[in-house]
Amino acid sequence: MLRHIAGRVLGAVPVVLLVALGIFALVRLAPGDAASTLAAEDATEADLARMRAQWGLDQPVLVQFFYFLTNLARLDFGTSYRYHAPVTELIGQRLPATIELAVIALLIAAAIAVPLGVATALRKGSWLDGLGSLVAVLGVSAPSFWIGILLVLFVSGYLNLLPSSGRIPLDVPLREMTGFVLIDSLLQGQVGVFRQGLEHILLPATTLAFGMIGIIARISRSAVIDVGQEEFVVTAVAKGLKRREVVRNHLLPNATVPIITIIGLELGTLISGSIVVEVVFSWPGLGSLLYSAVTSRDIPLTTGIVISYTFIFISLNVLVDLVYVLIDPRLRVGRA
C-alpha cells in the first residue's frame, strides 16, 4: 500500500512541473500587466517602472522562471502583488471556505443523484427514467451563474428564505479554529452560528451541486444497469431472492466503485470549479481569489492557486485509489 502511495506521489511530480510551466507561460502571454492594472490611475510611468522592478518583472523571462521554480521547490509562491501578503497565507485563509462549499455541494449532489440514478436504473425506460435524463441534461447544460442568480432571485428575493450572499452573518463572535465555519461553530457550541452558516452555504452549494447531479446520476444509473446484467445477480433473482434483497445485497455494493470514483473526482472538480459560484455569491474562497488574481494579473497568486488546485486534484485521485482498496475486497486480494 505504502509503495502504491509513494508511486502515485512520485508520479505527480512531473504533472506539477508541467502545470507550473504551463501556468507560468500562460500568465506571461496574457495581455496587460500587473503594474498597469494595479497602479493608481494617476500613477506615472516612473511609478509603473518601480513596481515592475520591485516584482522582478523587469528581469529576463528565463531568470523569472528560474526564481519561480526554485521558490516552488520550497513551496514558496511569493507575495501577492495585489493583497501584499504571502500567497501561501492567502491560500490557507481561503481554502477552508472553498472546501466547505465543495463538500456541502457534493453531499447535496450525492444525496439527490445516487438515489435518482439507482431508481432510474431499476425503472429503465419508465417516466422516472425520462425525468432523470431531463434532470441530468439540465444540470450539465445550465450555466452555474444563471442557476445561481435564479436561486437568489427566487429563494432569497421572492421567498426571503435565505441570505443572498456571503459566508457568515455580520460579525458573529466565532473564533477561528479550523477555518470551517460549520465545524468551528459546532466545536464552540454555537448552534445559532452553525444554523446561520448553513443558511449562507445552502444557495451557493445547491448551485454548485446542480451541475454535478446530472453526472453522478448518469454514472450511478449505468453502474447499476451494468451490475444488474452480471451472472451473480441473475443467479440471485433465479434463486427467488426478493427484489429489495437483490438490490441491497448484490446490486448496490458492486456498483459502488464507479460511483465512489466519480464522487471523488467530482470533489476535485467542485473545488477547482467553484470560481463562478464564489464570485456570484461573494463567497470568500479560493475561486473568487483566483478571479481577483487573474483580473489584476497577480502572477504569484494566480500560479500559487492553480498549483494548489493541481495538488488537491492529485491528492484526491490518490485518496480515491485508497478507497477502492478499502471497499473492494478483490483489489486487496489482488495486491496480496
Binding site: 496574457a30 495581455p31 496587460g32 500587466d33 498597469s36 492594472t37 494595479l38 497602479a39 493608481a40 490611475e41 494617476d42 500613477a43 506615472t44 510611468e45 511609478d47 509603473l48 520591485q54 495585489r82 493583497y83 501584499h84 501578503a85 485563509q93 442568480i149 437568489v152 432571485l153 432569497s156 428575493g157 421567498l159 426571503n160 428564505l161 435565505l162 441570505p163 443572498s164 450572499s165 456571503g166 459566508r167 452573518p169 455580520l170 460579525d171 444554523r195 446561520q196 443558511e199 464570485v279 456570484v280 455569491f281 461573494s282 470568500p284 473568487s288 481569489l289 481577483s292 483580473t295 489584476s296 494579473r297
Partner: protein, 507 residues
C-alpha cells in the same frame, strides 16, 4: 386545528416554519448600518490601495488633512484646522488641537504628518506617491504647524491631497512594529474606529464617541459589505440584509420601483466617460476626423435608450460636480451627422472611411458594450468604417496607458479637480494615453497651475474646456449617475464621490 396529513397543507406548514426560522437571520440590528461595496477590500495597509472606497474609509478612521464637501462645494479641514498660502510654493497648515487618538493618546502632530509623508513616499507597498508628486518637502514649523513646499506653483494642491492623504500615528507605528501596526493597531483620530477588516468580505467601523462634534444620529456601527453582483445587491436591499445598496445599474432600478420600504436616490458622479483618440495613430492625427466623430454621436439618445436616463450629458470635459463648473461651455460641438460627413469629405474621405478600430471593455462600466455598439452604428452612419473590439479591461487599460489604443471608451474616476486629470491626458508629454500636443493648451495648463485666485482659475479652466471641445482630442459623453437603493428611514444624501461621509448619515 390544521390537519397536516394533507400533503398540500403539510408543505405549507413546512414552508412557513422554514420562513420563520430562516428569514430572521437576514435582518440587521437597529444601530448598525449595512452598506454594500464593490471594492475588493484587499489590505489593511492604508497606503497600499488606491480606491475611492478605501480613501474614504481611512480618512474616517485614521484621519486625513481635509475633505471636499460636495453639498457646500468647498474643501473642509478634518485633521487640519485651517491653512493659508504663504507664497506661490508654500502652503501652511495648522493641525487641530482638540482631537484625541482612539486609544486615548495625543492628537495629531507635525511628527505624524512627516511620518505619513515618509510612508507614502518610501514604503514599497505604497500606491499613493501620485497625490504627493507635486510636493517637494514638508517642513516642521512647530508641533501643530507645518509647511508644504511644492516643486512648482500648484493651485490644485488641496484637491490632490484632501480625501486621499491619510495621516497615521508615528508613535503607534514605532511602538507596534512598523507596517504590522496597520494590522494590529489601526488607531487614528477619525470620527470612526476600525473594528474589523475581513479581507474581500467586509469592513466594520464603530463610531468614535470621543470625536468632537460627534453626531448622535449617525450610526453607531457601520458595515461595508462586499457584494459584487448587482442583482444580489438589489436582493439584499429588498431582503433587509443591507440598508444602502450602491451602484444599482439602470436596468435593475425597476426592481425597486413601487417597493414601499425602499427609495431610489441618485447623484451625478464625477467620473467623466469619454472617447479618447490617440493622435499619433491615423486618422486621429487629423482634427477634422476627430471633430466629425464628435458630431456623429448622439449622446442624448444613448443616455435615454441605453442608460435609461441615468447619466448627465457632458458638454466639454468639466461636469457639474467638478471644481470650477459653472455653466456649459459657450460653443459646444453639435450633434450633426451631415456636418460630420462634410468634415470627413474635407479630410479626404468623401468616398467612405476611414476604417478605425474602436475599443471598449465589456462589464467594466455601465452597459459599456451596448454603448460601444451604439457609438459604432452612429459613426458608421456618418461614413466611418468602425470595427468594435471588446477586450478584457486589464488588457485594454494596459494598451491605453502605453499609448497603443487608437480609439477607446473609458471613464476617469476621482476627477474632482479637472485641471489635474486634463493635464494628465492632454498636456504635452505627461502621459501617452492621447499623445495630443497643443502649445496653446500647454500654456493654459501652466497658467492654471500658477493662478491661485479661484474665480480667475476657473476662467482658465473654461478656456481649457473650450479648446479641448473644439479640437476634440477626446469626446466627452456623460457622467453616469450613482444610483443607490436606500431603505426608508435612512438619512443619506449621495454625492458625486460615490462614498459615504458617515457623520452625515443617519438611521
Amino acid at each position: 386545528m390544521i390537519d397536516c396529513r394533507k400533503p398540500s397543507l403539510r408543505m405549507a406548514v413546512i414552508a412557513a416554519a422554514l420562513a420563520s426560522a430562516f428569514s430572521a437571520s437576514a435582518q440587521t440590528d437597529n444601530d448598525t448600518l449595512v452598506v454594500t461595496t464593490t471594492d475588493t477590500l484587499v489590505t489593511r495597509h492604508p497606503y497600499a490601495e488606491s480606491s475611492a472606497q478605501m480613501y474614504s474609509v481611512w480618512c474616517q478612521v485614521y484621519g486625513c488633512l481635509g475633505r471636499y464637501n460636495y453639498a457646500a462645494r468647498k474643501f473642509e479641514g478634518l485633521l487640519a484646522e485651517r491653512w493659508e498660502q504663504l507664497d506661490d510654493l508654500t502652503w501652511r497648515f495648522h493641525l487641530r488641537r482638540d482631537l484625541v487618538r482612539h486609544d486615548g493618546g495625543p492628537g495629531p502632530t507635525t511628527a505624524d504628518v512627516l511620518h505619513s509623508y515618509n510612508q507614502v513616499m518610501t514604503d514599497p507597498q505604497s500606491q499613493g506617491r501620485f497625490y504627493l508628486s507635486s510636493v517637494k518637502e514638508i517642513r516642521r514649523v512647530d508641533d501643530h504647524t507645518f509647511d508644504i513646499i511644492t516643486k512648482e506653483p500648484t493651485s490644485s494642491l488641496l484637491g490632490q491631497l484632501f480625501d486621499k492623504f491619510t495621516i497615521t500615528s508615528e508613535e503607534i507605528f514605532r511602538r507596534e512594529g512598523g507596517v504590522a501596526s496597520y494590522n494590529t493597531a489601526p488607531i487614528g483620530w477619525g470620527p470612526y474606529k476600525l473594528r474589523n477588516f475581513a479581507i474581500s468580505e467586509r469592513i466594520t467601523l464603530d463610531r468614535n464617541e470621543a470625536y468632537p462634534g460627534k453626531v448622535e444620529s449617525s450610526p453607531r456601527t457601520v458595515v461595508f459589505r462586499r457584494i459584487q453582483e448587482p442583482d444580489q445587491r438589489v436582493t439584499a436591499l429588498l431582503n433587509g440584509e443591507v440598508h444602502i445598496a450602491r451602484l444599482i445599474p439602470p436596468q435593475l432600478v425597476g426592481r425597486l420601483d413601487n417597493v414601499p420600504s425602499v427609495e431610489v436616490r441618485r447623484s451625478p458622479s464625477n467620473e467623466p466617460m469619454f472617447i479618447g483618440f490617440n493622435a499619433k495613430i491615423k486618422p486621429w492625427d487629423d482634427p477634422r476626423v476627430r471633430r466629425a466623430a464628435a458630431m456623429a454621436i448622439n449622446k442624448d439618445i444613448i443616455i435615454q435608450r441605453i442608460l435609461f436616463g441615468m447619466a448627465n450629458r457632458l458638454d466639454g470635459p468639466v461636469g457639474t460636480e467638478q471644481v470650477c463648473y459653472t455653466t456649459p461651455i459657450a460653443n459646444r460641438t453639435p450633434y450633426d451627422v451631415q456636418g460630420a460627413r462634410k468634415l470627413l469629405a474635407e479630410a479626404g474621405y468623401a468616398n467612405g472611411g476611414p476604417a478605425v478600430d474602436f475599443y471598449t471593455a465589456a462589464g467594466r462600466y455601465i452597459s459599456d458594450r451596448q454603448v460601444g455598439e451604439a457609438i459604432t452604428q452612429m459613426l458608421n452612419q456618418a461614413g466611418f468604417k468602425v470595427t468594435l473590439h471588446t477586450p478584457e479591461f486589464a488588457s485594454l487599460w494596459a494598451n491605453v496607458r502605453a499609448g497603443k489604443a487608437p480609439m477607446y471608451y473609458m471613464g476617469r474616476g476621482l476627477a474632482l479637480e479637472p485641471s489635474e486629470w486634463l493635464s494628465q491626458y492632454f498636456e504635452t508629454g505627461v502621459t501617452p494615453r492621447i499623445s495630443y500636443s497643443n502649445p496653446q493648451l500647454d500654456a493654459l495648463f501652466d497658467k492654471d497651475r500658477k493662478t491661485f485666485a479661484f474665480e480667475e482659475r476657473c476662467k482658465i479652466i473654461r478656456e481649457i474646456s473650450q479648446l479641448i471641445d473644439t479640437e476634440a482630442p477626446a469626446i466627452f459623453l456623460w457622467n453616469h449617475q450613482y444610483v443607490s437603493g436606500v431603505r426608508k428611514g435612512v438619512r443619506f444624501v449621495p454625492d458625486a464621490s460615490g462614498e459615504l461621509w458617515l457623520p452625515d448619515v443617519g438611521l
